[in-house]
């Protein structure tokens, strides 16, 4: 609405505007500072961090910390760098996102266009599932993964992420399809179109935006997850966030801050890129996750 600005612009005066702009820029610096610190210090040799100023640019530029963080740094017992864990995360995220998005779309379709008695209760129970503290399911989840023979494996993590993402993906698609004109679906039904035909030919072609929102939301959440990753992974299924934490908080050896920073940026890169490329959809997902109904 930006109301007062238009008419009051003259009244507000140059002085006030200067203050507003300085405040906004100051906050921009505050938000950028940690990223800047990580970036410049990931390009310095270790000595320069210890003796030099954390906020100054590198005097001696080096990509060695990045190389080390990616492929040679000691993580746990083996000097593999973050690379294998990065790949673990990709192999975990892709199927988990795809499965939870497809199921969420179908659920949203059923819950809005094929309503039945008790559908609101079903939706309510699925929605509430979004907010449980995951600590409450850790112990039985570990058990069931063991029973299914998926303990400590990537498929096990995929299953867990898919299930606990269903609430949100269903919510997203339900809210989106709610606004879709029901007359179209009824008309198609009279024409003899089947359940899946209606979904594929009528709803899906106009679902582009909500699919993007859902995929981004799920990708960000699962990529950034730490709790499930640290609880249910074993040596060869550790995701990137857990590996990064192991790298940074291992108690042995010299603290290679520059490698830690490079590793942190590597771990953040995929979600940052998604955010930069499609920030609009990212924000829409956040909002949809926050403002229900």
């Amino acid at each position: 609405m930006s109301v007062p600005s238009q008419d009051n612009a003259a009244r507000t005066g140059i002085f006030a505007r200067a203050i507003i702009y300085s405040a906004l820029i100051l906050f921009a610096i505050y938000y950028l500072l940690p990223l800047y610190v990580m970036l410049v210090n990931s390009l310095k040799p270790l000595d320069e961090i210890r003796q030099g100023n954390m906020l100054s640019l590198p005097q001696q530029w080096t990509f060695e910390p990045w190389r080390s963080a990616w492929s040679t740094a000691q993580i746990g017992v083996s000097p593999t760098g973050l690379k294998p864990y990065f790949l673990n995360s990709i192999m975990m995220v892709a199927p988990a996102v795809a499965l939870s998005t497809i199921l969420g779309a179908l659920n949203g379709y059923v819950l809005t266009k094929w309503r039945f008695k008790g559908d609101n209760l079903v939706f309510g129970l699925m929605l509430l599932a979004c907010f449980i503290p995951f600590q409450i399911v850790l112990i039985p989840s570990a058990r069931i993964l063991g029973i299914l023979g998926l303990a400590g494996s990537i498929p096990g993590l995929i299953l867990i992420h898919m299930v606990y993402g269903l609430g949100f993906t269903t919510l997203f698609f339900r809210n989106y399809y709610e606004a879709f004109p029901t007359e179209l679906i009824r008309a198609a039904q009279i024409d003899g179109a089947s359940f899946f035909q209606i979904f594929r030919r009528i709803l899906l072609p106009s679902s582009g935006p909500i699919i993007v929102v859902t995929v981004i939301w799920q990708f960000t959440n699962i990529w950034n997850d730490f709790l499930f990753g640290s609880s249910f992974s074993s040596v060869d299924s550790i995701p990137i966030t857990v590996a990064l934490n192991n790298l940074v908080n291992s108690s042995t050896g010299v603290k290679e801050y520059n490698v830690h920073f490079a590793g942190a940026i590597l771990a953040a890169l995929p979600t940052l890129i998604v955010y930069i490329v499609s920030g609009r959809y990212f924000v829409r997902g956040l909002m949809a996750g926050a403002v229900k109904g």
């Binding site: 609405m1 109301v3 007062p4 600005s5 009051n8 921009a28 938000y31 950028l32 940690p34 990223l35 210090n41 210890r50 030099g52 100023n53 954390m54 906020l55 199921l103 179908l106 659920n107 059923v110 094929w114 309503r115 309510g124 509430l128 907010f131 503290p133 600590q135 409450i136 399911v137 850790l138 112990i139 058990r143 069931i144 269903l166 609430g167 269903t170 009824r186 039904q189 003899g192 089947s194 950034n224 730490f226 966030t241 990064l244 934490n245 940074v248 908080n249 920073f261 942190a264 771990a267 953040a268 940052l272 998604v274 955010y275 920030g279 956040l286 926050a290 403002v291 229900k292 109904g293």
Partner: protein, 305 residues
Amino acid sequence: MAMTTTAQTAAKNPRATLQDWLPKLVLAPSFALILLFVYGFILFTAVLSFTGSKLLPDFSAWVGFNNYVRLFNHPNWITSLKNLAIFSFLYIVICSVLGLGLAILLDQKIRGEGVLRPIYLYPMALSFIVTGVAWKWFLDPGIGLEHVMHLWGWESFSFRWIKDGKMAIYTIVIAAIWQSSGFVMAMFLAGLRGVDNEVIKAAQIDGASTITIYRRIIIPLMRPVFLSAFVVLAHLAIKSYDLVVAMTDGGPGTATWTPALFMQKFTFGRNEMGMGASSAIIMMIMIFSIIVPYLYSELGGGKKQ
């Protein structure tokens, strides 16, 4: 709610028997998974919290409310609750104030809003572990802020909160606010952009000042946004785990334990599964007591456009 008639329409369809069941069949696997993995598991944990399970679940060792009694007599749990109180209060209040403030400033027909907004919001795309690493070293007295100030000639500057048991929890607050306040700003900005211009024009004609318009008209209109922000932030606060692990891992000592950390350490570190389960139940009760009324009002009163 417009679609209640669809089921009947479908029933009249001649080749409808399978078509009738298909929607429910499609929904069933997801719903079954949620019932088992969420509600079944909650029940499992609830029962477990009444047993003396140690390393593994043991349902024969029934101890009644003993775990809960031990929990609330345990200094680490009390510390965790105190930290949660400090953390969530500061986190919610400062994020809301900062978010609203930034949104109002950004809403003044600012040139470059398109550049500033994404800068405020990008931390939300990061993992708490990444945020934790950045702030852990930035606030580290050895190489971070304190060191920088000394190099700049402010020799007496001291900032060692992260190493100080009394203050360490506040460093986690700082990092958490950095991560979430931009998101709250986006929520308020959306709210501000939704305010009806007519109302404000009328107030301006009546001679109300900008500050009065904000204080008396616009901010009161933001009530629903405050509520949403509160719910989102409160539930994030109660779940806070990753950030603590990355920044302090609960230290120094047990100074920055939170309920989520307590659950993890007791269940998997100290083999006190019964107590771990009871702490998880308390966490769930805390979250549900905020979320359930909120969802109920949002869904129940959902027809209020």
